[in-house]
Symmetry: C2
Subunit: 379 residues, 2 copies
């Protein structure tokens, strides 16, 4: 007496790696924002302000769909992401992007066909995988998702959702180019599928192309964003922008979990209103850019060069040309933690490592790469 | 291309009523704790303490299953609820009780048979209803769930989950007696079903019998609790106590939503550690008891006496002997808001109203009942 979801759920490789984090000298595994960048003081002041101003109102039940004041602030924030609410669209506040994707999968999927980039982020794919008949891979290269390959696929298969991480891909680090975004939005109309655009890294990146959602004329793109990277993941606040029909149902589905903290919604609304969140992009983009540059240079210096250079975000996907799981275990004994990337792939991938610059300090990135080189040079 | 859950989800009558709350002079609808009882100052100090002490650590990703420090504090809190962790059991922190029930339904149900009290709380039933083949009602009387009726039922039907709200029932106000609790726990073993014991009101009640879970020798009871009533619903922190196998899977399922705010977990842990939460029961129990006494007396004075007198909690279920929906609309024009209780029933119930003393002030309870009498006396 267990559901299919109950039977098939597994420990994610990211959670698995995080259990080893206390043993890591060089943590190139974590996908959390750098603790040094989290504006603890601003957040503390905001809790004080919200509780002083609203009192018990900030601590009541959240209601489904999101607090009105936060919805309004996110509406004002959308242009900052290259978006706006068009006629027939609506916002839904969620407990972060992961919760958003769980809601979307729950609403749309019941043994349909899902398409995802190969590789893709295993944790966000899981809610879709557990509710679909099959997840079909399309290739990812240095210019992002291969939309040509997707087009071929849709000639023979009726696809329900195409899942894309357009910017600073997790785990591959790449960004889908402008031309492919436009073509993808067209294809969704032609072939009548939904695009689930998962865009957590845009707020900490500069110079990425406009969202696929901005080319969507027919409500086929469901856009997911989060304040986890630009502000703090521990608040668990994200949102969905979707056509009215979908958005209203997703808001109703929130009655089944009511999981989005009321006070945290007010805190994010307060920090948006004061421009604190919007003001962080440049700083964060250069902070992570600097660390990524060090990672790329260290890898090249050590002749570990089978990767696409990431344009932004936290992650780089390195082909180790050896079994990543066994490298992982040896590396761990020398203090290096990374995520073996096999589970991110729908096919292949056993020799890949996801390296992250998110939490590691600059000298630890350099040292971590040396350890990796050392481990790979053994036997 | 919409799932069964997507197709069947509806606006809950509680959410519906809450949309009218700004028009209510006498709010006998809300199930939120009385704002005057929420310890805003204590919570504000706790956010300050947690952020000062832990800094960015309080704002990272939550991980699945719950923060270690909160799990430890809840373990210490269990005896306060008449419980303890036995061998082979485990706690899982959730985003409140509603999220807990969504996780449990997701894990266990795929077209199985669910049994619930008639009436039961519609919002918590929904996650089960949307994933079961059928929900079968068993009667509820002044001593709670009719376990005899359940026993008869299980002779002919293979039941997967029996859902019970043992204390201060929502919407019926009654408490299941000791004898029936013991028999229910035995029956779960004999007939091999799970009991989902949803117990949000115990922390604000005195003198209720021990949990069904305390009579569970074989891991058949999944116990759900929350800090929403005793502390504040806006934090969205609750928990599940279940056998190891179930609890571990529920924790894994949290990877699919990661919805439980990290900092709010630390705040609840901090307030548990300081005894702030434990110290509130007496005061809250008498606060709501006093208001319930006024409601009961007002109803009797107005000869509205077809109800079971509630022993604790927020709710009283009144038979209006008229269609509750049309009474609802007329009452609203006179400033009275209640919840028509039809949707809480699996069969019948069209003439019932759920009256709540949660947020209403004492004089508003009296006036609200007068309005109700007036509306019922018309035509």
């Amino acid at each position: 007496m267990v559901s299919r979801i109950g039977k098939e759920i597994e420990l994610s490789p990211v959670e698995m790696a995080s259990r080893y984090s206390s043993r890591a000298l060089y943590n190139l595994a974590a996908g959390s924002p750098d603790p040094s960048t989290i504006p603890v003081g601003e957040i503390m002041n905001s809790y004080d302000r919200v509780l002083s101003d609203l009192g018990p109102r900030a601590l009541g039940y959240p209601g489904a769909g999101g607090q009105e004041s936060l919805v309004k602030e996110i509406e004002n924030f959308l242009p900052f992401l290259g978006l706006s609410i068009r006629k027939g669209e609506r916002l839904v506040v969620t407990s972060g992007a992961q919760h958003a994707i769980e809601l979307i999968a729950k609403y749309l999927l019941e043994n349909e066909v899902v398409v995802a980039e190969n590789p893709t982020f295993v944790e966000t794919l899981t809610p879709m995988k557990l509710r679909s008949s099959v997840v079909l891979p399309v290739s990812l290269d240095e210019r992002g998702m291969s939309v040509d390959e997707l087009e071929s696929l849709t000639r023979t298969v009726k696809v329900s959702i195409v899942y894309i991480i357009p910017n600073c891909h997790n785990p591959a680090g790449v960004t889908t180019c402008l031309e492919r975004r436009k073509r993808l939005a067209e294809l969704a109309e032609e072939r009548n599928f939904y695009i689930l655009e998962d865009d957590p890294y845009r707020p900490i990146s500069t110079g990425v192309p406009p969202p696929v959602k901005s080319f969507d004329n027919n409500g086929r793109v469901i856009y997911v964003s989060t304040f986890s990277k630009i502000l703090a993941p521990g608040l668990r606040i994200g949102f969905i922008l979707a056509n009215q029909e979908v958005a209203e149902k997703l808001a109703l589905l929130e009655q089944n979990d009511f999981s989005t903290s009321t006070i945290n919604q007010y805190v994010v609304a307060d920090l948006l209103k004061r421009g604190v969140i919007q003001g962080r992009t440049e700083q964060l983009s250069s902070h992570y850019g600097r660390k990524m540059k060090i990672l790329v240079e260290s890898l090249r210096e050590n002749r570990l060069d089978d990767f696409n250079p990431p344009s932004c975000g936290f992650f780089l996907l390195l082909n180790l040309h050896k079994d990543a799981d066994s490298v992982f275990h040896t590396a761990l004994t020398k203090g290096l933690l990374f995520v073996p990337a096999g589970p991110f792939f729908l096919r292949g991938g056993e020799t890949y490592a996801r390296l992250s610059v998110a939490v590691a300090q600059e000298e630890h990135i350099v040292k971590g790469v040396r350890v990796l080189k050392e481990v790979l040079s053994q036997d």
